[in-house]
C-alpha cells in the first residue's frame, strides 16, 4: 500500500473564469492511487483509499502564469450536500490581522496551505464520501468556484 495518494487538481483558469464554471473541461482531477479509482481526468473522480493513508491535494494551472489555489475542501453529508460539514481551512480569516503589509491578506495566503490529511478508520468501505472542492482564481466577485462531484472511497 502506498503511504500517500496524491490528487492533482488541474485547472484551465482562463476557461473557468470565462465560463464561470469548472465544468465543461475546465477542471480535471487525477490521482496516483494504487487502486482502481473511477473517473480519472474528470471532475467526478472517486479516489479509492485505505484507512491510514495520507491524501494530498494540489492545484495546478494549465497556463503557468494564471493563479489558482485551493480555497477549501469540505466533506459533504450523506444526503447530497444538504448538510455541509463546516471544516473549511481554519487558516482562513483568522490570520488576516497578522498578515504582513501588502496584498497577501486579500489572497488569504492560500499558497501557504498544504491540503493533506489522514484517511480515518471509521469510513464505511465501498461508500463514496463526496467532498466540495472550492478553488480561488485571483480575486474578485467571480473568483471562487466549486464542485461537489469528487469523492473518496475506502477499499
Amino acid at each position: 500500500m502506498k503511504p500517500q495518494v496524491n490528487i492533482a487538481v488541474v485547472v484551465d483558469v482562463i476557461g473557468a473564469l470565462s465560463d464561470r464554471t469548472l465544468q465543461g473541461g475546465n477542471l480535471c482531477l487525477i490521482d496516483d492511487g494504487a487502486f482502481d479509482s473511477k473517473g480519472q481526468g474528470t471532475p467526478g473522480l472517486c479516489t479509492v483509499v485505505t484507512p491510514g493513508q495520507v491524501v494530498q491535494w494540489s492545484a495546478l494551472a494549465v497556463d503557468l502564469q494564471t493563479p489558482v489555489e485551493i480555497r477549501s475542501i469540505t466533506f459533504l453529508g450523506a444526503d447530497e450536500g444538504a448538510s455541509v460539514t463546516e471544516y473549511a481551512g481554519e487558516g482562513e480569516g483568522e490570520g488576516e490581522g497578522a498578515a504582513p503589509a501588502g496584498g497577501r491578506a486579500e489572497g488569504r495566503q492560500l499558497d501557504l496551505n498544504v491540503w493533506s490529511g489522514v484517511v480515518p478508520y471509521f469510513m464505511t468501505p465501498g461508500v463514496p464520501y463526496r467532498y466540495r472542492l472550492e478553488l480561488q482564481m485571483y480575486e474578485g466577485e467571480h473568483s471562487v468556484l466549486h464542485i461537489d462531484s469528487p469523492a473518496l472511497m475506502c477499499l
Binding site: V54, L64, Q65, V68, G102, G107, N113, V114, Y129
Partner: protein
C-alpha cells in the same frame, strides 16, 4: 499564488533615445498586484515575491521571474515574422511597376523628374548591414502602420523592439535572484527571454538593474544604419517568506475532517 511571475518592461523608445535615459521613459508592470506589488505602470515598480518554507526551514516551492521588454512606438511584436520583408518586397514591386509605366510613356514629358521623385519616395530606405546590427539590416525603414518611410527627419519610423542584454545589481550580487537568458520558441520574444529563480530565504527589498539596448536610426556616410544605444534602468524586488501549514488544521497534518455520524 504560485504562478510564474511576469515583469513587463515597456519602453518609450523615441523619448528614451532623445533624452538618453530610461528614467521617466520606462513603465513596469507585473502580474503580482494581488500579492502586494506596488507602483504598477510606473518606473518605480516594486515586485512582491512571496516565498514559503517548511517547518524545518527549507524553501517550499520556487518562484520564477520572467522579463518581457515591450516597446511604445514600434510595430507590434505579434505581427507575422516575415512582415518587414513582405512590406519591403511589396514596396519594391510597386516601384518597379511605376518605373515600367514611366518607361513606356512617350518621352520628354517634363514631369518625369516628379514621377521619379515619387517612385523614390515609395521605394523607401534600406538600412545598411553592419556586423553589430545584422538582425536589423537589409530591412526597410517602416512606420508603425507598416508603410515604408523615406523622410527620416520626421521621426515617424518604427523602432526595433528594446532588448534586455543583462540583469545585474544588488539582487544578483546578493544571490537573491539567479538570472539567465534562455532560448524560446516564442517569436514574440524574438526567440530569447530573461528569466530567474528566486532565493526567498532572505526576506528584504533588493534592487536590480537591467541593461537595455535600443536602436537609433543614424545616417553615416550617406547610409542609414541602426546604431545600438545601451541604457540601464532599475527596479526592486520585495521578498517575503512565511511558513507552510496544513489547509485543514491550520497547523500540522491530522485526520481528514470527515464526520462519521452523517454516514451511520
Amino acid at each position: 499564488m504560485a504562478q510564474q511571475l511576469a515583469i513587463i518592461v515597456l519602453v518609450d523608445v523615441g523619448s528614451a533615445l532623445e533624452s538618453r535615459t530610461l528614467t521617466g521613459n520606462t513603465y513596469l508592470f507585473d502580474n503580482m498586484k494581488l500579492q502586494g506589488s506596488v507602483n504598477q505602470g510606473t518606473g518605480e515598480l516594486v515586485t512582491a515575491v512571496n516565498g514559503a518554507y517548511w517547518s524545518d526551514g527549507s524553501q517550499a516551492g520556487e518562484q520564477v521571474l520572467n522579463w518581457l521588454p515591450y516597446s511604445l512606438g514600434s510595430i507590434p511584436p505579434t505581427v507575422p515574422r516575415g512582415y518587414h520583408t513582405t512590406r519591403a518586397r511589396q514596396a519594391d514591386q510597386e516601384a518597379l511597376a511605376e518605373l515600367a509605366a514611366l518607361a513606356n510613356r512617350p518621352s520628354a514629358n517634363g514631369d518625369t523628374d516628379a514621377a521619379l521623385a515619387r517612385i523614390q519616395k515609395s521605394v523607401g530606405t534600406r538600412v545598411r548591414t553592419t556586423a553589430r546590427t545584422r538582425a536589423l539590416s537589409g530591412q526597410k525603414v517602416l512606420d508603425v502602420t507598416g508603410q515604408v518611410v523615406s523622410d527620416h527627419g520626421q521621426g515617424a519610423h518604427s523602432y526595433p523592439a528594446p532588448v534586455i542584454t543583462d540583469i545585474f545589481g544588488e539582487a544578483v550580487d546578493e544571490k537573491i535572484i539567479y538570472p539567465a537568458e534562455y532560448g524560446s520558441p516564442d517569436l514574440v520574444t524574438d526567440g530569447w527571454y530573461w528569466s530567474a529563480t528566486v532565493d526567498t530565504s532572505r526576506p528584504g527589498t533588493y534592487v536590480y538593474k537591467m541593461r537595455i539596448q535600443l536602436h537609433e536610426l543614424i545616417q553615416r556616410a550617406g547610409d542609414w544604419t541602426w546604431e545600438p544605444v545601451n541604457l540601464t534602468c532599475e527596479s526592486k524586488l520585495r521578498i517575503t517568506s512565511q511558513p507552510r501549514r496544513n489547509g485543514f488544521t491550520g497547523a500540522g497534518v491530522g485526520y481528514l475532517p470527515i464526520a462519521p455520524a452523517t454516514f451511520a
